[in-house]
């Protein structure tokens, strides 16, 4: 069956009735049932979709009518071949119907058993080659299989040749240890894994009886799988269960129902779980992703379980496309968003997010006094033009490039590298242009500081991993040693991608602190299992055409940061989004994989497309984000979104990252800091070297830039942080060295005005009347007013309202 054709037909199958029946529309998957040999069979799914968007699996109760019952038969929604030919299948349920086609060919041909796609699939399905059993790197109890079957020839060898006649005994199949162990007839740490009368066991037995053959070279191999239905929406947790259907395509153009050979998993059992047979049932409100794994392929399907309470979408207006896409998700989930935040909340949030600094009391006054309905947009436009905005993004890019002193990178080299990046960002270069200059960089690290990228990491493997993680949001590390069990990456992909860095040449420059990076023009990587030379291949996009004599890296960089590689824009969109929402659409931001799906795929796609259309300039996208209603929601939650952490239905409170927190402490206390290599009074976000020693930054979790991982920036609290804020010099010390309270007392005279100023500078708000009363009480105890106000200042700096962006 050809997938493309089936999609077109699928569209035709939807009843064309003008008014949707109240009972919902019926669909059937797959719309073309293709049976290509005597052993072939195909399950179908009949789905009812209701006007409110929810779906129901009605396969078991649907009625099937065949135009030619001689061609195939259907039982419990499973089609089996009878004779070559075609027939029309009419499915009826609840007054609706839908039509599908069945095509049968080679109805009498019984094909040979395939080792990889049938025998090995049984072992994977039964868990034999999982990481804790024989799939462990060292095997288990003396028997090793490749993890989830990434090495079929190796597995065949170990089954049949490592101990001839023992694991597999072709002369007496019953006595094969493989079968005896699987049944638990002999001592087996894993116990009984298969039933004697199961089809899976019979597959193993038949294969051994046939002489345990390996696959002939011309045998069709699996090329991919598809999981159906593409989305299931349960009306509530009591809704009927949903069967999954998995179809694998093969290199000879055929397809097979491999539902019974798949391993199924849910990524969130709290919302919905899945049985080993692929039956999904709802557990509680939320979203879950059902994964199916067959051969080297993992694909998934999204499941939504609605809370099951009456739901009406509020009358709110989408400000832009982002809102449209987010609102659509809320509607699907039956989520009610929080209200829009106040001007004060907005001002503080937007200042921190765009410049890493707090609004001053004067800025606050002006903003509140402005009666222009577009003042929020004006504020965003104003902040986007500030140099502090660029400093913030230089810091973020520097983290992706891991700019730090390492591997003998001299401080001169480091500063030049930082300046190289800083100048480009401030000159308005977009990140794709920077990456295109960075990746193929050659020359001395002083002459062309971009080459320092090749000094911070020096092996092709690490360089490839970092590039994939930083610029494509993908972690390929797993595939260094085995095919990635939960993503599409194979060892071929890994070494193919790493090969782009296999010809980086290094030599000493005249200055002992400088290193020359050049294209050596020779060198390659070997696939460690297959022991063959790997040619450079784009990650997920096939082999690269490399002109003779070209620098591999130049070929890579032309593709990497271009429209040809949508992962670049998508990753960039996700990174930008996460900066403003505290959590990515894919989270962690640099861990996009099949088994970690985006919380809103359409939104992620839109962000990527928008960036590509804007030539990778992040500012228009940031503007759209900041002006969206979604961004401008309050942090206060309601009954409906109380537990939502992934769908942006309220603002997420985020502790300020280390650099920003330190800058804000300095800003409000009017004190200055000295960092190595920077003039006094510089901000922490401007630090060039991720390894610059600073107790505050280290304690509050700045990225040391040792890896490309987004997980390096840590904002979770520790005891040391609390102690430092309570007793350390960053609060008490800065308060006294800055002398803000003393100066304000002198200027304003009235202690209550000073209180107001302290609240404004730290929290961007005036104290509430209750707070004023509480302050008055405390000031009236006859003690030194100056001391009391300093203590209030200290308390403000120690408050969550200050430490968090909200």
């Amino acid at each position: 069956m050809k997938i493309l054709r089936s999609c077109i037909l699928f569209a035709l199958c939807v009843p064309a009735a003008a008014d949707e029946p109240a009972t919902g529309t019926l669909t059937i998957q797959p719309p073309i049932i293709s049976l290509t040999d005597a052993r072939d069979w195909q399950r179908v799914l009949v789905l009812q979709k209701f006007p409110d968007g929810s779906t129901r699996d009605v396969t078991a109760n649907a009625e099937f009518q065949l135009s030619d019952p001689a061609v195939c038969q259907v039982e419990n929604g499973i089609f089996r071949p009878l004779a070559d030919g075609q027939c029309r299948v009419t499915v009826r349920y609840d007054g609706s119907d839908v039509v599908a086609m069945a095509e049968v060919s080679n109805a009498t041909m019984i094909p040979d058993l395939r080792f990889r796609s049938e025998v090995l699939a049984v072992l994977t399905k039964s868990g034999c080659n999982s990481g804790k059993c024989h799939g462990a790197a060292s095997g288990k109890d003396g028997f090793r299989l490749s993890l989830f079957g990434y090495d079929p020839p190796g597995d065949h060898h170990r089954l049949t040749r490592e101990f001839p006649g023992r694991r597999v005994n072709v002369s007496d199949p019953e006595q094969s240890l493989l079968l005896q162990k699987a049944l638990g007839n002999v001592n087996h740490t894993g116990g009984q894994c298969l039933d004697e009368d199961s089809e899976h066991f019979q597959t193993l037995k038949a294969w051994i009886a046939e002489g345990a053959p390996t696959d002939p070279p011309e045998a069709a191999i699996p090329t991919g799988i598809r999981v159906f239905p593409e989305e299931a929406i349960f009306a509530d947790r009591t809704a009927a269960s949903q069967q999954l259907l998995v179809i694998a395509t093969f290199s000879d153009g055929t397809d097979k129902d491999v539902t019974d050979l798949c391993v199924f998993l849910s990524n969130n059992d709290a919302a919905a779980g899945v049985t080993g047979d692929g039956v999904v049932s709802a557990n509680g409100p939320g979203t879950a992703f059902m994964l199916a794994r067959f051969d080297q392929f993992t694909e998934g399907t999204a499941v939504i379980v609605r809370p099951g309470v009456s739901y009406e979408f509020p009358k709110i207006v989408a400000a832009n496309q982002i809102d449209e896409l987010v609102f659509a998700r809320w509607k699907n989930l039956h989520l009610l968003p929080s209200e829009v935040c106040s001007d004060e909340e907005f001002l503080r949030r937007i200042n921190l997010d765009l410049t890493g600094l707090l609004p001053t009391p004067e800025e606050r006054r002006l903003f509140l006094a402005d009666s222009d309905p577009d003042k929020r947009a004006k504020r965003v436009d104003d902040l986007l033009q500030r140099p502090e905005f660029l400093d913030l993004w230089v810091m973020k890019w520097a983290e992706l490039l891991q700019i730090r002193t390492v591997n003998g990178l001299s401080s001169k080299g480091l500063l030049m590298y930082d300046r190289w990046l800083r100048e480009r960002v401030h000159a308005g270069m977009t990140i794709d242009q920077i990456v295109r200059e960075l990746i193929p960089a050659t020359g001395g690290t002083f002459e062309n500081p971009a080459t320092s990228y090749y000094q911070t990491e020096t092996t092709p493997q690490l360089l490839a991993e970092n590039v994939a993680q930083s610029f494509m949001g993908t972690r390929i590390q797993c595939a260094q040693c085995h095919n990635h069990p939960f993503d599409r990456w194979t060892m071929d992909d890994y070494y193919g991608f790493a090969s782009f860095f296999s010809q980086v040449g290094y030599k000493q420059a005249r200055d002992p602190r400088e290193i020359m990076i050049f294209n050596a023009g020779t060198g390659s990587l070997k696939h460690p299992v297959a022991d063959r030379t790997v040619v450079p291949a784009y990650l997920g996009a096939g082999k690269a055409e490399i002109p003779a004599g070209a620098d591999y890296r130049a070929v890579l960089s032309d593709w990497l940061a271009s429209d040809a590689n949508p992962a670049f824009a998508r990753n960039l969109g996700n990174v930008v989004w996460a900066h403003f929402f505290g959590i990515g659409i894919v989270e962690p931001v640099d861990d996009m994989r099949v088994s970690n799906p985006p919380s809103n795929p359409q939104l992620l796609q839109y962000l990527g497309q928008r960036l590509a259309a804007d030539g990778y300039d992040i500012r228009p996208l940031i503007r759209e984000i900041c002006l969206s209603r979604t961004y401008q929601l309050t942090a206060s939650r309601n009954e409906s979104n109380r537990l939502d952490e992934r769908h942006f239905s309220h603002s997420k409170v985020r502790r300020l990252r280390a650099e920003v927190l330190l800058d804000c402490l300095n800003q409000v206390t009017e004190s200055q800091e000295e960092f190595r290599g920077l003039p006094r009074g510089s901000r922490a976000v401007q630090i060039a070297d991720g390894q610059t020693p600073n107790y505050f930054l280290t304690t509050f979790g700045r990225a040391s830039r040792e890896t490309a991982c987004s997980c390096e920036v840590r904002t979770s609290p520790t005891l040391s942080q609390a102690l430092h804020l309570l007793n350390g010099e960053s609060t008490s010390g800065k308060i006294s060295s800055g002398g803000v309270v003393e100066r304000l007392l002198q200027e304003l005279q009235d202690p209550l005005l000073v209180v107001g100023n302290l609240y404004e500078r730290c929290l961007c708000r005036q104290p509430t009347s209750r707070e004023i009363e509480a302050v008055k009480d405390r000031l009236a105890d006859g003690r030194d007013v100056r001391e009391a106000l300093n203590d209030l200042f200290w308390a403000l700096l120690n408050s969550n309202e200050f430490l968090f962006n909200h």
Partner: protein, 454 residues
């Protein structure tokens, strides 16, 4: 269905953080999987308040882990090879110990007298010759992975058992001697608390443990009251796990600061001359500036006060040249301080409940190199284990005649780590959640080395 898929939400709610099924379902409501930090802390607190001992099977209540940074020469300390050729055996003579037939090197005079209280593992082995890779192997029980940094022993214990009283569960003295002594893939809420100052220095004060200048106890109380007042408004409006977690650390900080006994545990000034003598804290012999003793003594005080794991980093052992000059003062300093620690713990009845370890990322090359140094050698090296359920007066395993290969009973990093968790009452086979909701076992494929157990 199989339950062994990394990558998916199979959260093992262990006995030590057992929530009700209801809590658990609740935890994963809209896309978030697993317990959040705040939930974990609440469950731990609840567990401690409403139940009997958390770790019924635990022999070791706490751990003092002495880390000798740089790679510790096994043949010049706990595994001398007097019969090897001179370029292997080196210049130190063997001496007898309190265990008949067991010899140490002549730099281990004091420790030799307490050998009957120790188990010496002479067959520790792994495959990593690089410092960082060796550290990761020894501190986490995992070979370094390109995909993930694993949490250290102390962080796992902090995650599993939480704090005891007002003390932080995991402390490093004076600071973390390796990046792999941290919380790895776990939240940095489980990272170690660092003294930030060397107890051996005069004027030693733990950072941020004392009120800032000009703030006495009464003013600090008033500040607390100000903070309560300021926090009120935001708390009433915003409920978020990140906020309650921050608050829980403020609570931890306050209970530590409010407890004179806990704060005193970080100080050394009320220790007697006799104790200082025992730990070798005063200059003696060739040791003009001893520093091991003060660090070990602080470790004992911290453990007494309720800290679960103290990791003390001591010395600079990476002697690629002039090896014997490099160790000639620090080894005797270590020797005396360690013997003092063991005697002190034993006298106080603490040794049986305190697991004491001396480890290093690897040993050093059997053959002395042309520069008079020894290089990195992970194929076989020695570690010391004592107390907390470890056998007394035992030698585990053996190296060959050149101290080059394991001759008997290799101890792998997995089995070593599993044994320690076993003594602490933690199931090393349990899975913790790493980012991306990938469950990771605390140790994979480790077995308890039962011959180490008392």
């Amino acid at each position: 269905m199989t339950t062994n898929f990394p990558g998916l939400s199979r959260f093992d709610v262990s006995p030590s953080v057992r929530g009700s099924r209801r809590n658990w379902l609740h935890a994963g409501w809209l896309g978030g999987v697993g317990l959040s930090l705040g939930q974990l802390f609440r469950l731990q607190a609840q567990q401690r308040s409403d139940e009997s001992p958390v770790e019924p099977a635990a022999k070791a209540k706490s751990v003092i882990h002495i880390y000798l940074q740089g790679g510790f020469a096994h043949m010049d300390s706990f595994d001398p090879k007097p019969d090897a050729p001179v370029e292997y055996r080196g210049i130190l003579d063997p001496i007898s110990t309190s265990v008949p037939g067991v010899q140490f090197s002549s730099h281990m005079q004091q420790t030799a007298t307490v050998a009957d209280k120790l188990t010496i593992v002479r067959s520790m082995t792994h495959t990593e010759v690089d410092h960082q890779r060796g550290e990761h192997s020894m501190f986490t029980g995992y070979r370094p992975s390109p995909a993930l940094v694993y949490p250290s022993l102390g962080s796992v214990v902090a995650h599993e058992q939480g704090s005891r009283g007002a003390m932080p569960p995991y402390v490093v003295v004076p600071t973390a001697g390796s990046q792999f002594l941290g919380s790895g893939y776990l939240s940095n809420a489980f990272s170690p608390f660092a003294l930030g100052a060397d107890p051996a220095r005069t004027g030693y004060v733990v950072r941020d443990l004392n009120n800032p200048a000009g703030v006495d106890a009464a003013r600090f109380e008033r500040r607390k009251d100000w903070k309560r007042m300021v926090d009120e408004q935001f708390r009433s409006q915003t409920q978020d796990d990140a906020i309650s977690t921050m608050d829980s650390f403020y609570q931890k900080a306050w209970s530590l600061l409010d407890s004179p006994e806990s704060k005193a545990a970080f100080r050394l000034d009320d220790e007697t001359e006799q104790t200082r003598e025992l730990y070798g804290m005063k200059p003696w012999g060739p040791i003009l500036r001893p520093s091991a003793g003060a660090r070990f003594l602080v470790a004992r005080r911290l453990v007494e006060a309720g800290v679960r794991v103290v990791t003390v980093t001591y010395g600079a052992w990476d002697t690629h040249s002039y090896h014997y000059r490099g160790i000639e003062t620090q080894l005797p300093d270590l020797d005396k301080a360690f013997a003092g620690l063991i005697k002190d713990l034993d006298q106080r009845g603490l040794l049986d409940s305190t697991l004491v370890l001396i480890t290093s990322e690897f040993g050093r090359t059997p053959r002395i190199n042309a520069g008079g140094g020894r290089d990195h050698w992970p194929r076989v090296f020695s570690i010391v284990m004592a107390g907390g359920g470890i056998r007394r007066g035992h030698i585990f395993g053996a190296s060959d005649g050149l101290a080059a290969e394991v001759a008997d009973q290799p101890l792998s990093i997995e089995n070593y780590a599993t044994t320690i968790y076993h003594l602490l009452g933690i199931d090393a086979g349990k899975s913790l959640m790493s980012p991306g909701d990938r469950p990771q076992r605390i140790v994979t494929d480790g077995e308890v080395a039962s011959e180490l157990l008392a």
